[in-house]
Structures are given as structure tokens and as C-alpha cells.
Symmetry: C2
Subunit: 225 residues, 2 copies
């Protein structure tokens, strides 16, 4: 094989890290679907490396829960049971409620303003029914919320859980009227946080995720199982 060290122009990190990010991205963004095979040789060819780094990347993705691995079988994009999916959504509700509560107590003035700005910015996207753009703002909004708890470990857990849920939550904004409802729910969270009302923020965040969960499980159900 050639090996002329021309591994594209991705700048950051080691080969394996790059592959982990690339593959995780494909899974999370829905380029690859739950249950799809991740054959080592194909990936090696695709990324122009040998199987060794591919294997390490797959193992790491396995540890993250994004792919399932069994001995002597190809790795496959994680396809969780409906029960486990449900437990992840419930965990998301709990985690997000914690973040909202802690955020209401701990966020700096700047963080609060940034959150509110992010929220307000997405208002016009609701009217335009710009689902893609709204989804991007939505992600950023939630990231700011999670950061606001000022707890790195909780941030790690909630981020990882969110990533694992992503493949099953893709279509949520296609439900008619969901965009507007989502915006309203965010509004309650933001308002509560601005007031420093941790109980209300927590409650609002919990229900918000619970609703997203319901919306998503409908769409997931034809993939899971």
C-alpha cells in the first residue's frame, strides 16, 4: 500500500481521534442508520489507513455507546431497545432539569444574557418554519443550558446521552406545530432562569424533554427493534 502520508487536511488530533469524530458525526447526523454495519476493512479503505486505527476508533465508539460490538462480529451503529431508549429520554429529562435548576442558581449575568439571546434569535426561525436552522439553534441553546450548571461531569454525561439519542430524535421538528411549542417551552425555561427561580426552571426543563421524548419515540419506533 502507498501510505504517502496524505491523510486529507483534517487538522486536529491523532488519526484515531479524527476517525472517532468523523464516524460519530455520521451516526449522530443520521448519515448512518441504527443497525448499519461498520466493517473494518471498508472503513480502513475509506479513511486511507490500516485496520488497526479503525479498530481502536470502533472500540472507543463502542465505549461511548454509539456502536454495538460483539466478538467476531462487525460493529453496528447502536440500535437500542425501546425500553433503553425510554430510559435515556427519562435520564435526559432528569439531567436537563438538574442543569436548569443549577443554572438558575449559578449562571453568570453574561451567561444568562447569552442564553436569552440565543433563544430570542430562534424566534424568527419558528415563523419561517426553518427546521434545519432551528435545530442548530436548539442545539446551541441546550449546550448553553448544560454549561450553565457549572458542573463538568454533569455536562459530560448530558452531552454523551444527547449524542446517543441523536439518531432517534432527528425528525422531531417535523411534527406540525412542534417548532412553536418548542420555542414556548424554551421561553418558560429562560424566563425562570432569568428570575433565578430554580424550581420553575427545573420543572420546565423536565417537561420540555419529556415532550420531545414523546415526539421522538413515535419516529423512532419504525427503526427500533
Amino acid at each position: 500500500m502507498k501510505q504517502i502520508r496524505r491523510r486529507q487536511v483534517i487538522r486536529t488530533g491523532t488519526t484515531v481521534e479524527q476517525m472517532v469524530r468523523a464516524i460519530a458525526d455520521m451516526i449522530v447526523t443520521g448519515v448512518m442508520h441504527p443497525g448499519e454495519r461498520l466493517d473494518e476493512l471498508s472503513l480502513a479503505v475509506r479513511f486511507d489507513v490500516s485496520r488497526t486505527p479503525v479498530r481502536e476508533a470502533l472500540r472507543e465508539l463502542g465505549a461511548m455507546g454509539l456502536v454495538d460490538r460483539e466478538p467476531n462480529r462487525s460493529a453496528v451503529v447502536a440500535n437500542v431497545t425501546e425500553a433503553y431508549l425510554h430510559s435515556m429520554f427519562e435520564a435526559m429529562s432528569e439531567l436537563e432539569a438538574i442543569c436548569a435548576r443549577l443554572g438558575a442558581e449559578r449562571m453568570t449575568i453574561d451567561e444568562r444574557h447569552a442564553l436569552e439571546l440565543e433563544h430570542r434569535a430562534s424566534a424568527r426561525l419558528v415563523h419561517a418554519n426553518a427546521q434545519e436552522d432551528y435545530a442548530a439553534h436548539n442545539t446551541e441553546f441546550h449546550t448553553k443550558l448544560y454549561r450553565g450548571a457549572h458542573n463538568d461531569h454533569i455536562y459530560e454525561m448530558v452531552t454523551q446521552t444527547r449524542a446517543r439519542l441523536a439518531p432517534f430524535r432527528r425528525a422531531q421538528f417535523r411534527l406540525p406545530g412542534r417548532l412553536a411549542k418548542s420555542y414556548d417551552e424554551h421561553d418558560v425555561i429562560v424566563t425562570s432562569i432569568m428570575r433565578g427561580d430554580s424550581a420553575a426552571a427545573s420543572q420546565a426543563a423536565y417537561s420540555h424533554v419529556a415532550i420531545v421524548s414523546d415526539a421522538s419515540i413515535v419516529f423512532a419506533s419504525d427503526k427500533v427493534g
Copy 2:
């Protein structure tokens, strides 16, 4: 090299899985200390395998957060900052509070009885000041508590967090009077759960971990940093 397939008598799983378990165990039980190097070749020799499975095991342990890895550097047993340690303890409080709350609502009669039994069984160990044995019962008690929430993903998160905290929590029961206090705290949790009082159970579990956290950080402080 020989390769006479005599890799000890550990029965389950692939080579890498066995190594992950073995190394994780050494870290969690304190045989290896935070900051200690995990050189690939030494481990390979020790386990009588080549470096390839060792590397995969280390990568998995890295993903779990039990070891730290940097490019072109040996993996080392994870040594977290005091800030991150604090965030993990806080997360533990929150997670355990959730488990207690959900447990108070969801545990079956059998689960409640088993939890109470486990708790009562450790009473005599308190009087004997049998720290080792109490620690074992303590682990089992908390596992039952986590299971009681009937949420697999939360169980996964809390278990993983607990494992990462283990190296920094080892000495907690050596504080004078800690055993008795721990028992009393458990008692409040158990009683609340038996009554189905989720708010009280949640509150009790939260404070319990917060106290353990304080007790542990004292001991951790000469290791961390």
C-alpha cells in the same frame, strides 16, 4: 513469542475485555494509584499478549475516564483536578437523589425488602467497626438503590461515575465515627423508601453523598494535583 493460549483462567469474553476488567479493577481497588503510568509493553508482558489488545484496552479505559491518554505519551491512571472531582461528587449526589426518588416510587415489594435486609445486615459490622466488610455491604446497598430506579441508562451513568470516584473515596470509612453515621444516613433513606416518600428519600440520599464527598475530598487532597 510462545502464545500457548494459557492466558490465565479468566473465563469470560475476549482478551481485551478481560484486560479492561483486570486493569479497571486494579485502578478501582487502589492497586494502582492516580498518576501511575500504564506502559503498553509492560502490560503486554504481564498479561502475556501483544501490544495490540493492550492498546485497545487502554483506549476503552480512556473512554471510561479511568485512564488519561495523550498522543505519544503513556496512559496514566486518571488523576482528576480537584474541581472535576468536586463536580463528580456533586453529580453523584444528584444521581443518587434521583435513584432514591424513583426507587421510592417504583421499587417492587421484593426490592424494598432486599434493600432493607442489606441495610440491617450491616448493622453489626458498624459495632464491630469492620470497615472492609462494611464497605462491601455499602457497595451492595448502593447498587440495589441504583437498580431500584428501574432506569438502565441512569444505572449506567451512576455506576460509571462511582467507578471513577472509587480511587478517591477509598479511605472514607477510616474517619472515626463515619461508619455509624453512614449507617444512620442509610437508615433515613431506607425508611423513606419503605414509606414511599420520594421527596424524603431523595433529600436523604443527596445529603448522604454530600457528606461522603466531604469525607473523601480530605483524603484525596494529598493525591490530587
